[in-house]
């Protein structure tokens, strides 16, 4: 009846029980709070059923915050374990639970934090930057979000019911095959990633069409803001890479469920085929995460330097070069596979080549500041920290791209230091910069700048203390995923420093969480009275009130140059007549949520081999989709008069 699901699945070791209790209590508190404040109806009408990309963007960020808290707790537990588990002491986590933790940490941070950050920013910014009222496929956009959330939920469920994968964040076979991982862990991983991955493909299609089809009149490709350009490149990568992930996971699933022989060591299968395929997705994925962040900094640096971006065309070509090259380097993740020296050298050289367009971008940002009027706001500080971290991590990446060097430090903590420099120093710092920068656009008030600065210094210094020593440990021979080592290695003091660094980062993260709520509480004090353009910025999203009205633009703008708002402020823009028109917007629908819920149940049922439930939920998905397709497209109309009324109200801009 319940497949492999027995009561045993609910019992865990003490450290995990604590986490489960915490999660359940937090969830229960949240539900009580919503009921207490009678917010259910509001939540349902304004958020859960919404198809407005601004709202969906915020929901992505909320999921990111939850998943970040989980992934970060995983990281802290690993560092604490490595600090404690020396010589005779075995720490506070068992070896098998430690494996679950590092698998969950990687999966959570890449799929549910990294991807969530990227799609959150895309939803919030792209329609506003290209002067559009909506995205191309509002319903698919909502569906993409709910599938993403569904995958995240499945990861959280695995914490409480059963076990998560112990096979690492990419689940290499034969370890992840049915023979060596007969439990439910890998299945949880497969379905969580598969569901979220399909959501990403859907969201990627939506944004490609949005950028290509819905730009406002006059915005040719070479007049698009760089953030939009970087997202265009990222969605091209998503569209070309995520189907490969889907297919690869299907093959692994078939190996595990139907006894096929793709990646098994018998039956003439070949585990290295999996490693090749997964990195054919995995390497572009790295650029999917970082390209939009390049875009964020390309918006922030000109704004806070009061100067137009240096080398716009070279920025665009650098993005395109990175997009193309990112497909030709996947093998550098496994030089040690033992391909011929010719193959390894080809991929080594291709990897080195990527440094060129990336270097072009760094220099362009630096030249943008040259003779500009630089404001040392917190987004700019994140930028400085980013340049430092990204350059260091980039240079160590170049070291790793030489196959002989890679053979020495493969799978060591040197590699961990390198890619955390990219992901934390790059993606995360960039997200924080963008979050601070665009926060007033969507709320109407600023984040508290003093707390921003405290958080920044904690993160920046904490990062250096927590990750720079890992380069040393890597050279000393410490491998990744290490839950125990001997005292005679002499690594203990360095691991202590690393654990201390992680605590400094924790302070930064706590200050940020607190700062968010504090800023909401004292919002009247930090209200933006500038009429929507607090930073003296250059692009279209700042030309409308904050927070933007539901239709974004009452009058669709016409642009004739790169920094349209700057042109308007300088009186160089073409005059548009203020004639309001009726605006048609799609109505809300809960169908995205329903499909997401069915997908969660389907993933859960497949994981536990409860096949009747899997069939039931799959037919639920199909039926819901058919119902959606049988309805006529419904739209609500905001009449020209109402638009006029809303515009005059918005422009008064008073604190709520």
């Amino acid at each position: 009846m319940f497949g492999r699901l027995t009561t045993e699945a609910f019992f865990h070791e003490p450290s995990q029980n604590g986490a489960v209790a915490g999660m359940v209590i937090m969830g229960a508190l949240l539900l009580i709070l919503i009921t207490w404040t009678a917010r259910w109806k509001w939540l349902w009408k304004e958020w859960i059923t919404t198809v407005d990309p601004k709202r969906i963007g915020v929901m992505y960020i909320v999921v990111v915050l939850i998943m970040f808290a989980k992934g970060f707790a995983d990281a802290l537990m690993m560092r604490l374990q490595q600090f404690l588990s020396v010589g005779d002491s075995s720490g506070f986590i068992s070896a098998s639970h430690f494996q679950e933790i590092f698998s969950a940490h990687g999966t959570t941070m890449i799929f549910f934090v990294g991807m969530g950050v990227i799609f959150g920013l895309m939803n919030l910014i792209i329609p506003l930057q290209i002067g559009a009222r909506d995205v191309a496929f509002p319903f698919l956009n909502a569906l993409g979000f709910w599938l993403f959330a569904s995958g995240g939920l499945l990861t959280l469920i695995s914490l409480a019911i059963g076990k998560f994968s112990t096979a690492g964040w990419l689940a290499y076979p034969p370890l992840s095959g049915i023979e060596y991982s007969p439990g439910v862990g890998v299945d949880y991983w497969i379905w969580a990633v598969q569901i979220a991955g399909i959501g990403s493909t859907i969201a990627g299609i939506n944004f490609l069409v949005t950028i290509m089809k819905m730009r406002c009149p006059g915005m040719t490709y070479m007049k698009m803001p760089i953030f939009t350009w970087s997202c265009l490149c990222a969605v091209v990568l998503i569209i070309l890479a995520f189907p490969v992930l889907t297919a690869t996971l299907v093959l692994l699933t078939l190996d595990r469920y139907l006894d096929m022989h793709f990646f098994t060591s018998y039956g003439d299968g070949n585990p290295m085929m999996y490693v090749n395929l997964i990195w054919a997705w995995g390497h572009p994925e790295v650029y999917i995460l970082i390209l939009p962040i390049f875009g964020v900094f390309s918006e922030i640096v000109p704004t806070f330097s009061e100067k137009r971006l240096f080398g716009y065309a070279s920025m665009v070509w650098a993005l395109i070069m990175i997009t193309i090259l990112s497909y030709l380097v996947w093998l550098h993740h496994f030089f040690t596979m033992g391909a011929s020296p010719y193959v390894n050298s080809f991929f080594g050289i291709m990897t080195i080549l990527i440094a060129i367009p990336t270097g072009v971008k760094i220099f362009n940002w630096l030249f943008t500041k040259f003779r500009g009027r630089v404001h040392f706001t917190s987004p700019m500080l994140w930028f400085f920290a980013f340049v430092l971290n990204f350059t260091v991590a980039g240079m160590t990446g170049i070291l790793l791209s030489a196959p002989p060097v890679d053979y020495q430090v493969h799978n060591s903590l040197f590699l961990i230091a390198h890619f955390h420099g990219m992901v934390i120093g790059g993606v995360l710092f960039g997200f924080f910069a963008g979050f601070t920068y665009w926060f007033p656009k969507f709320t109407g008030f600023f984040l508290d700048e003093k707390l921003n600065l405290y958080a920044f210094w904690c993160w920046f210094l904490g990062f250096l203390v927590a990750f720079m020593p890992l380069y040393m440990l890597g050279f000393m021979g410490a491998t990744r995923r290490l839950d125990h080592y001997e005292a005679s290695t002499g690594w203990h003091p360095i691991f202590a420093v690393v654990a201390f660094g992680a605590c400094i980062i924790l302070c930064g993260a706590l200050i940020q969480f607190f700062g968010l709520f504090w800023s909401i509480k004292i919002r009247k004090r930090n209200w933006d009275h500038s009429g929507g353009d607090p930073w003296n910025a250059r692009t279209l999203e700042w030309s409308i009130p904050s927070p933007p009205p539901i239709y974004n633009f009452a009058i669709i703008p016409t642009v004739d140059q790169r920094d349209p708002l700057w042109a308007i402020k300088r009186g160089q823009a073409p005059k548009t007549e203020k004639i309001y028109e009726d605006i048609h917007l799609p109505v809300n629908t809960p169908i995205g949520l329903y499909i997401g819920m069915f997908a969660t149940i389907f993933g859960f049922a497949m994981t536990w081999h409860i096949f009747w439930l899997a069939i039931l939920s799959l037919s639920g998905i199909i039926t819901t989709a058919i119902i959606r397709l049988s309805l006529r497209d419904k739209h609500e109309t905001i009449s020209a008069d109402e638009v006029k009324k809303m515009e005059t109200l918005q422009n008064r801009n008073e604190p709520l």
């Binding site: 089809k213 819905m214 793709f262 395929l277 397709l629 049988s630």
Partner: protein, 211 residues
């Protein structure tokens, strides 16, 4: 009744007041078809991955049968013809919809459905035959990749059949409107795409397997 329609301006036609009111900056028909093209490209990559896997594993038979021992080209040829003619019927349905001939549209869709269903039936028969002879997907990496590649195509055709069925009802109830026309065009893209994939399967899996 048979007023000629221009394909790309379905939404601005006054003849169909029942559909979405067009926003001056959005052309729903071209956005949807373009979006569906992009989806087809993602699907194409999914198949590309399975083709690559088949290419890698096609001679890894683990002592089991090789393509030469298994495939009967005559059946596969009939299968191919059935699928291609299903696409022809789908094309005729689309042409009739341009002339707003509702009954003809439904008839051609029914023909496309029947041919598509026979394709799936022949394929299933071939699969059961293989499994009965002890040559199932568990036998070797080659057979795993064969069943996955061809089976994924078959699954796509089956989903297409479900879609076709839903659409026959929609055309019956709603008539030929901008909405149903749009869905019909998108479906025909899907159906032709599956043809194309099948041509590649026919060539790479069956024909090249025989030499």
């Amino acid at each position: 009744m048979s007023r000629p329609l221009t394909l790309h301006h379905q939404d601005t036609l006054e003849a169909h007041p029942d559909t979405r009111v067009p926003d001056p900056h959005q052309d729903v028909f071209s956005t949807t078809t373009f979006g569906f093209w992009v989806y087809l490209m993602t699907d194409c990559l999914l198949f590309a991955t399975f083709f690559v896997t088949f290419a890698v594993f096609h001679d890894r038979t683990f002592g089991g049968p090789s393509p030469k021992d298994l495939f009967d080209l005559k059946t596969v040829f009939i299968e191919t013809m059935v699928l291609l003619f299903s696409s022809v019927a789908c094309g005729l349905a689309l042409l009739s919809s341009l002339k707003l001939e509702k009954t003809k549209v439904i008839i051609w869709m029914a023909v496309a459905f029947l041919l598509g269903a026979s394709f799936v039936a022949i394929e299933l028969k071939e699969f059961t035959h293989l499994v009965h002879e002890g040559n199932s997907w568990e036998r070797s990496a080659f057979l795993s990749s064969f069943f996955t590649l061809v089976g994924t195509h078959g699954l796509h055709v089956s989903v297409g059949l479900l879609w076709l069925m839903v659409m026959m009802f929609q055309v019956f109830w709603m008539g030929i409107t901008a909405l149903t026309f749009r869905r019909l065009s998108v479906f025909s893209m899907f159906w032709h795409f599956l043809d194309l994939i099948w041509i590649f399967i026919f060539t790479f899996v069956y024909l090249m397997g025989m030499v």
